[in-house]
């Protein structure tokens, strides 16, 4: 009499294939079927696969990095630690942080070191009690992984270096220096209270401060009710004016514990930031001896490049929300732009002759709002300087800004250079093109 071949007797290879295809949740259900299947589902190589697929873990550890006794134990610890959240959202939030941290570990480890370890449920609860808000689910999870950034305390000149480690980064032009940090819960509470006190927000408002710059008052607010993120404009102190940072249509189900559709502005914002860093759209820049994440784009189409007679000019703009003034129709928005110029190794070549240096004399800008020219200016120097370029040197970089009445526009222009030096010109002046670069209020505002 032949005994029926049961599911539990198919052989290790077959069972492994079946269970790996089923995934962790179904495997757990299979482990509740019978004693033999419970044994088959306990194989750690299976759980190693699940840990890798769900959490990108290659060693067994819990969510705080402590080693676990096996992959199965590790998986269980993770599920226990986040049992109150929809698992797909947990995986997504982890991937968001992992992307940021991977980039940081390669390009800017000093910032990675500022990331604080995850907040506990009771830390989050404290925030909610003190500020009388309920955090959207994705934001809660973001804090569970990392409680903002550590910022070295003010006082000394070394502070200035410390305050350039904002994970969101920033820009500087004239005396406007911005570098945005993600705030830890303790500072979210303090910052929000200050805003309520000094800016006259209602004590029952659902806005909390989640990110801020050290110097200039650039503040990001999360609305806990609808899950949207806002940044204060120049009218913040007087009118509480803010600009939304993430397309509204993308925000959904921020307080819904069921399903896997939840996304709030914080999550979307950080995902977008991670994407821009990963794709090299924005990079770490060095000014003086200070490195920071610069929000001026480095690649087309937002950054233009042109080479004329051996002089290369790259140009791009960044939207500056904290200096916007939505009530002023002529100067509603402000854009900062960064111009980087250099002389290619071949030197300055005009009509077949090569020169080993050239110097800037004049600038000419044409600024458009939408397609209409609103400004056509000529002037001497750039920010009061006459950069002298030699082949193969680092780029000469300067920043300036321009107001704009519309959310879309462009800048193009040219520089007049002389070969040799202004004090000792070796030939006729020539024009170097600055290719058109866009001024565009982005969908994601940083």
């Amino acid at each position: 009499m032949e005994r029926e071949v049961g599911l539990d007797q198919l052989g290790d290879l077959a069972l492994h294939i079946i269970l790996s295809k089923l995934g962790p949740e179904d495997t757990v259900r299979v482990s509740c079927v019978s004693r033999r299947l419970r044994l088959s589902t306990s194989e750690d190589s299976l759980w190693a696969l699940f840990c890798f697929q769900d959490l990108q873990l290659s060693t067994p550890q819990d969510h705080q990095g402590n080693p676990a006794s096996s992959f199965k134990a590790a998986y269980q610890l993770w599920r226990e630690a986040f049992a109150m959240y929809p698992w797909p959202l947990v995986k997504r939030v982890k991937r968001c942080w992992d992307k940021l941290k991977n980039w940081l570990s390669n390009d800017f480890p000093e910032v990675e070191a500022t990331l604080r370890s995850g907040a506990s449920e009771s830390d989050i609860q404290q925030l909610e009690t003190r500020l009388k808000v309920k955090l959207p689910l994705p934001t809660r999870l973001l804090y569970r992984f990392h409680d903002g950034q550590e910022r070295t305390d003010e006082g000394h000149s070394s502070t200035w270096l410390g305050s350039s480690l904002g994970i969101i980064g920033g820009y500087s032009f004239y005396n406007h220096l911005v570098n945005v940090y993600l705030l830890p819960i303790s500072q979210v509470i303090e910052g929000t209270r200050m805003v309520i006190r000094h800016l006259g927000f209602s004590s029952r408002s659902k806005y909390i401060v989640v990110a801020a710059s050290a110097y200039r008052p650039k503040k990001f607010f999360l609305n806990c009710t609808n899950g949207q993120l806002y940044v204060g404009t120049s009218n913040l102190p007087t009118d509480g004016e803010m600009i939304q940072c993430v397309p509204n249509a993308l925000i959904r189900s921020v307080h819904d514990l069921h399903g896997d559709q939840q996304q709030d502005a914080m999550l979307l914002w950080l995902e977008e930031h991670g994407r821009r860093l990963e794709n090299g759209i924005i990079k770490v820049c060095e000014e003086g001896n200070v490195r920071s994440i610069s929000l001026f784009p480095e690649v087309p189409p937002l950054c233009s490049t042109a080479v004329t007679n051996g002089v290369q000019v790259r140009a791009s703009a960044a939207f500056v929300p904290e200096l916007a003034n939505l009530q002023d129709s002529a100067e509603k928005y402000l854009f900062a732009y960064s111009i980087r110029m250099s002389l290619l190794p071949g030197g300055c070549i005009i009509d077949g002759m090569t020169f080993s240096s050239c110097q800037l004399n004049w600038r000419h800008w044409i600024i458009r709002a939408n397609e209409a020219i609103i400004s056509d200016v000529n002037g001497e120097a750039v920010i009061g300087q006459f950069p002298l370029l030699h082949p193969g040197e680092n780029e000469f970089v300067y920043e300036s800004c321009t107001p704009l009445s519309s959310s879309s526009g462009s800048v193009e222009g040219s520089f007049t250079f002389v070969p040799g030096r202004l004090a000792d010109p070796k030939g006729r002046p020539f024009d170097v093109q600055v290719a058109r670069f866009p001024l565009q209020k982005p969908d994601y505002v940083f």
């Binding site: 599911l7 259900r29 299979v30 509740c32 019978s34 309920k134 029952r204 509480g240 307080h255």
Partner: protein, 358 residues
């Protein structure tokens, strides 16, 4: 001519391999088809068997003639190099359409013949069958024994599932365990040292089923009072937040800016009411896994009783679930947040106090 001579060569000049299944019957199979099976291939190359009827290759036990037929069909198709990937895929899809029992037999047989592509194909088909089924459904489909205790069945599902029934049952276990312990303590005069039994449920089971009378396993002292106090604190804090929150919801959502509204949104009524429902859900799961780290310090006989009770409850639950859901849903909207009490209560009141979760 004796039968020991080399294989009779057919007019087409084909070679054949002889295979024998455990029932004794012998089959003749085209060489290229048989060689497609690694196990057969190895037998032929290493031992020289299979070239005649007397020296037929003995196939593993799990390969009966019917299944062998299927396997050879598979091999016959796939060993032809001319088929396109699309054709192979279509063949595979049709091939695995068979009942579950046969699929299991086929998988097992393919596994014993080390025919990995077929194992892969049939395993995936089986996975598709198992996907999304509950443990009971899986047991039914594959006629598997129901040999785990009720608690063993629920434990792994604790953190994985969204099914409110499972959570309910786990909670019930936790409650019952606590009750029983309290009852035990009242009986017990010396309560000085509260011992913790950290044996796994499996150990306990073997104990019940006639293992050693002496209690083995590690016993350590643990401060149980601390656990209880922590739970009380949690309850209080969650209560107070819930209460505050309700007040907040009733208050008009106050926008902080009176100026330009273009980019700022004011929360609507519908959103706030949604919040009310889900707020409760955030806190009760926390209660749940605090309960779950209660130590197992119960008389095994009581444990069996507990198992039986819960099984009973589970059955009742499964039978009138749809009605219960209606009840709970209608209760949920009216109920305010009520702290959970620990005294043994009947299932009815438990439902109502949990009603707010839905």
């Amino acid at each position: 001519m004796s039968e020991g001579v080399m294989a009779v060569v057919k007019p087409e000049m084909k070679s054949y391999i002889w295979l024998q299944t455990t029932d004794g019957s012998i089959q003749q199979v085209e060489e290229e088809v048989a060689m497609f099976c690694p196990m057969i291939c190895r037998e032929i190359l290493q031992t020289g068997m299979g070239s005649s009827k007397n020296y037929a290759i003995s196939l593993p036990q799990r390969v009966n003639p019917a299944i062998l037929g299927l396997i050879l069909d598979y091999c016959r198709f796939h060993q032809v190099p001319g088929h396109s990937n699309k054709e192979r895929k279509t063949f595979n899809e049709k091939f695995v359409r068979m009942d579950t029992k046969r699929l299991c037999e086929l998988t097992s047989a393919a596994d014993s013949l080390q025919l990995k592509p077929l194992v892969d194909l049939t395993s995936r088909a089986l996975a598709r069958i198992i996907e999304g089924k509950t443990p009971e459904e899986i047991r039914e489909t594959f006629h598997l024994p129901d040999d785990l205790t009720e608690e063993e069945k629920l434990e792994p599902l604790r953190n994985i599932t969204d099914d409110p029934r499972i959570r309910l049952l786990n909670r019930l276990y936790a409650r019952k365990r606590k009750e029983l312990k309290e009852r035990e303590k009242l009986k017990n005069v010396e309560v000085e040292e509260e011992r913790v039994d950290e044996r796994s449920v499996d150990d306990l089971l073997s104990f019940i089923n006639g293992g050693d009378q002496d209690s083995k396993g590690v016993r350590t002292t643990k401060n149980k009072k601390k656990n209880r106090r922590r739970k009380e604190q949690l309850k209080h804090s969650s209560d107070s937040v819930d209460v505050n929150y309700n007040k907040e919801l009733d208050a008009a959502p106050a926008a902080c800016n009176q100026g330009n509204i273009d980019n700022i949104l004011v929360p609507t009524r519908s959103k706030t009411s949604k919040l009310q429902d889900s707020s409760a859900v955030i806190f009760s799961p926390k209660m749940e896994f605090d309960d779950a780290d209660i130590d197992d310090d119960i008389d095994p006989a009581m444990k069996e009783e507990l198992d039986r009770e819960v099984e009973d409850f589970a059955r009742r639950l499964n039978s009138d679930w749809p009605e219960r859901m209606q009840e709970i849903l209608s209760l949920g909207h009216e109920r305010r947040l009520v702290p959970m009490s620990i005294n043994g209560e009947g299932p009815m009141s438990r439902f109502s106090s949990l009603g707010r979760r839905y």
